[in-house]
């Protein structure tokens, strides 16, 4: 029995953080944001060197064959660094979907390229969770029409699309009839967008007629977002603690005031148990599928609440400087905010958790 990270897993996290500290420090993030760069290719190429896009892809397709937990641990590191790279879709949701429900041909065509990081894949599954503004995609044979909102890893070469029946399709970014429109959000360290389909030829994943596949893709995406929030929250807590030790007011470090100490203690007390929760939920995805949906719903909703508290409280501990663009603390603040809303907010997730246990009347 061992419920904790292996040395390899800890090393993986450290190597990602170390790489990003060098390749994507605050200045690089700012440039990415301020210049509205679609992709930070320099940062991405190092991620490829580390094997990140190949993490959960099977060895036979040129991947490493890790489990979802490893991907979640990487997501935690990305969140910790507010990394301006795609990940949730291109490295997790899409390869998992293709491996699970794609034909041999689809697997051979896409997985090696995804593993190499040559191809970046976005995912548009928002409407499989809930629909706003009459968005949604419907299929007519292998032809898609409609609109998909909040595609993740939007600056991509290929997209995974869910239609109204939760079937999954692959669509080339330059497919005829597809219009792409970026959506500006508060979180500018990652790219989001809208996809408009007018009779677009799509490549259906044959194994996706069971809607459970789409739901599992969403589960995977959710735990990745939750892990990202864990990493970003931990970083915001660390920054608050460090700042409080340096910042002097009234002739003493503000971290020696009980009010500030207790704010930091409350952040730690709320955040620390989330770590084990994230491990368990991500591990359950592969190892205990019967527990996965419930634990993942709870992990994402709970981390969303804790993250919101920490984003606010860390900014408060920083005082005025935390409110400036210059310090850049807000990149983490907004990243946590974005993770909260994407792929189901807390209220939605709690209702799904209740459903999963049969606590909601049909």
């Amino acid at each position: 029995m061992e419920f904790g990270l292996s040395q390899e897993q800890t090393l993986l996290q450290d190597s990602v953080v170390q790489y990003l500290n060098g390749a994507a420090p605050l200045d690089r993030i700012k440039r990415f944001v301020n210049n509205c760069e679609p992709r930070a290719d320099d940062v991405w190429s190092g991620m490829v060197d580390l094997g990140i896009p190949s993490l959960i892809i099977a060895e036979e397709h040129g991947g490493i064959g890790c489990e979802l937990l490893d991907a979640a641990l990487v997501a935690e590191s990305l969140g910790s660094c507010a990394a301006p790279v795609p990940f949730a879709a291109t490295a997790v949701m899409v390869p998992w979907a293709i491996a699970e429900a794609g034909s041999d041909e689809q697997q051979l065509r896409w997985l090696p390229k995804l593993a190499e990081g040559e191809v970046i894949a976005g995912a548009a599954v928002t409407e499989a969770i809930s629909t706003r503004l009459d968005a949604g995609v419907h299929a007519n044979g292998d032809t898609l029409s409609g609109r998909a909102l909040f595609a993740i890893d939007f600056e991509a070469d290929v997209y995974l699309i869910a239609d109204r029946d939760l079937s999954l399709y692959l669509v080339d970014a330059d497919a005829s009839g597809l219009r792409r429109r970026p959506l500006t959000t508060i979180d500018k360290t990652r790219r989001y967008g809208e996809l408009v389909f007018e009779n677009v030829q799509a490549d259906r994943l044959p194994g996706s007629s069971d809607p459970e596949v789409c739901r599992r893709v969403i589960d995977a995406g959710r735990i990745i977002l939750a892990a990202d929030t864990l990493g970003a929250s931990q970083r915001m807590l660390n920054k608050a603690v460090n700042y409080s030790k340096e910042r002097m007011q009234f002739g003493r470090p503000i971290g020696s005031f009980q009010a500030v100490k207790h704010m930091c203690a409350e952040m730690a007390a709320q955040l620390e148990p989330c770590r084990a929760m994230m491990w368990y939920a991500a591990h359950a995805f592969d190892a205990r599928p019967e527990e996965a949906r419930l634990t993942i719903c709870h992990t994402k909703s709970h981390l969303s609440e804790v993250g919101k508290f920490i984003a606010r409280t860390s900014t408060e501990v920083h005082g005025g400087i935390g409110f400036t663009d210059e310090l850049g603390l807000h990149y983490w603040f907004k990243r946590i905010g974005a993770n909260r809303q994407l792929l189901g907010g807390p209220t939605q997730l709690r209702e799904e958790a209740a459903m999963r246990q049969g606590l909601v009347e049909a």
């Binding site: 959000t185 002739g251 809303q341």
Partner: protein
């Protein structure tokens, strides 16, 4: 209990309303100082009408009316109701003028109040410094007397409107050897003085609402000090009191709540109106109750002022509670909007111009600024509840 204002005031309200009806096309928004002429014309009209500078003596260019709290409230209410600005109300008018009236010399009043009132002299406030935030009294910007002039060196931060202001009122340390609070003086000087550099300070919400201001040997005539040397802290506190009352105004929060209710009645998820989702509705009602408590508290404060009654604690808590509710309310709106709550700036489908996100951040700034929530709680416990101060640390 008498919630009516009485017929004299009802008449006055009618008068204000009809003025607004007739003149609203002339109104200049107070946040746009680019068209100074329009601003000043509108200001002038309001001064003549007695809706700006109502209680400022005629000799200083005001309307010279007796202070009347209900008249003031009626004017404010009616302009707010009409959604137009009640003249220009920059920091000079709102904060400096009361301080000048209380502690300025006759000369200073004559020189500064009339153009300030007419929006010919726009002011910014030089208080916070990078190392003097919560601990404002530790400010280091220095002013040294050299002949007939103060020579100012140092830096201010969080200076809103510094880029457009003509003048600054500024806290500087003039008596470096005196105890902290007694070494500070209150200076007035032109922003065109040589040696001043204004650098925009971008905030997390992406806007430039603040600046840093750097002083290098800025020379200020000796008589542009309000009060005596070392009186600065006293003058500043006159200003700060007015400022804190402005933060967390529940009537503004009520407006945002109303917007949100409208939004929740029209916006849908899975074909269901947001207001029909019981968990959201329950939380919305919780906000409505909290805002209601603050609005009635505000009414109580109005009445207390009117009747010279003591309501210190009720007034002290307004900033803390008001800013907290405002921040939380905007965050809740983001939640109910789901992914759409993330949209910002020029995004298609963005709701209410992205104001939910912008205010969620800006209101966090309010919790921090003008005395952080932690400082507010210190004040409430010490001055409101007479709890002991923290013991002075052994050095």
């Amino acid at each position: 209990m008498d919630l009516s204002y009485g017929s004299r005031y009802d008449d006055f309200r009618e008068e204000v309303r009809s003025f607004i009806e007739t003149h609203r096309h002339l109104a200049a928004p107070d946040w746009d100082v680019s068209d100074r002429t329009k601003l000043q014309e509108w200001q002038q009209l309001l001064i003549e009408q007695g809706y700006v500078g109502r209680t400022i003596p005629k000799q200083y260019g005001g309307y010279g009316a007796e202070p009347d709290i209900l008249e003031a409230r009626i004017i404010a209410d009616e302009f707010a109701r009409a959604g137009i600005t009640q003249g220009f109300s920059g920091q000079g008018i709102a904060y400096l003028m009361p301080a000048l009236l209380a502690m300025g010399t006759d000369e200073q009043k004559e020189r500064f109040i009339p153009p300030t009132l007419r929006a010919e002299m726009l002011w910014c406030e030089g208080y916070s410094e990078p190392n003097a935030g919560s601990d404002l009294a530790s400010l280091k910007t220095s002013a040294v007397l050299d002949g007939d002039e103060w020579v100012v060196n140092g830096q201010k931060i969080w200076t809103s409107t510094a880029e457009s202001a003509d003048w600054m009122f500024c806290l500087v340390r003039t008596e470096p050897d005196a105890p902290r609070h007694k070494g500070i003086s209150f200076l007035l000087f032109s922003m065109k003085s040589p040696g001043i550099e204004v650098v925009p300070l971008k905030t997390m919400s992406g806007t430039h609402q603040f600046n840093e201001v750097f002083f290098k040997d800025v020379r200020v005539p000796k008589d542009q000090i309000v009060g005596q040397r070392g009186d600065g802290w006293k003058v500043a506190n006159l200003v700060l009191e007015h400022e804190r009352e402005d933060l967390g105004d529940p009537n503004f929060t009520q407006q945002r709540l109303n917007f949100l209710i409208d939004l929740m009645k029209t916006e849908t998820v899975d074909g269901r109106r947001l207001i029909d989702i019981p968990v959201y509705r329950d939380r919305l009602m919780q906000f409505q109750a909290e805002v209601m408590a603050l609005r009635f508290n505000d009414l109580r404060l109005l009445s207390a002022k009117l009747h010279n009654k003591n309501a210190t604690l009720a007034s002290m808590v307004m900033k803390l509670q008001g800013c907290e509710v405002r921040h939380e309310l905007e965050g809740f709106a983001i939640d109910v909007l789901g992914e759409h709550g993330l949209l910002y700036e020029d995004a298609p489908y963005v709701r209410n111009d992205g104001s939910w996100q912008a205010n969620y951040m800006f209101n966090l700034g309010l919790i921090i600024g003008g005395g952080t929530a932690q400082i507010q709680k210190n004040i409430i416990s010490e001055r409101g509840l007479a709890m002991p101060r923290e013991p002075r640390p052994a050095s």
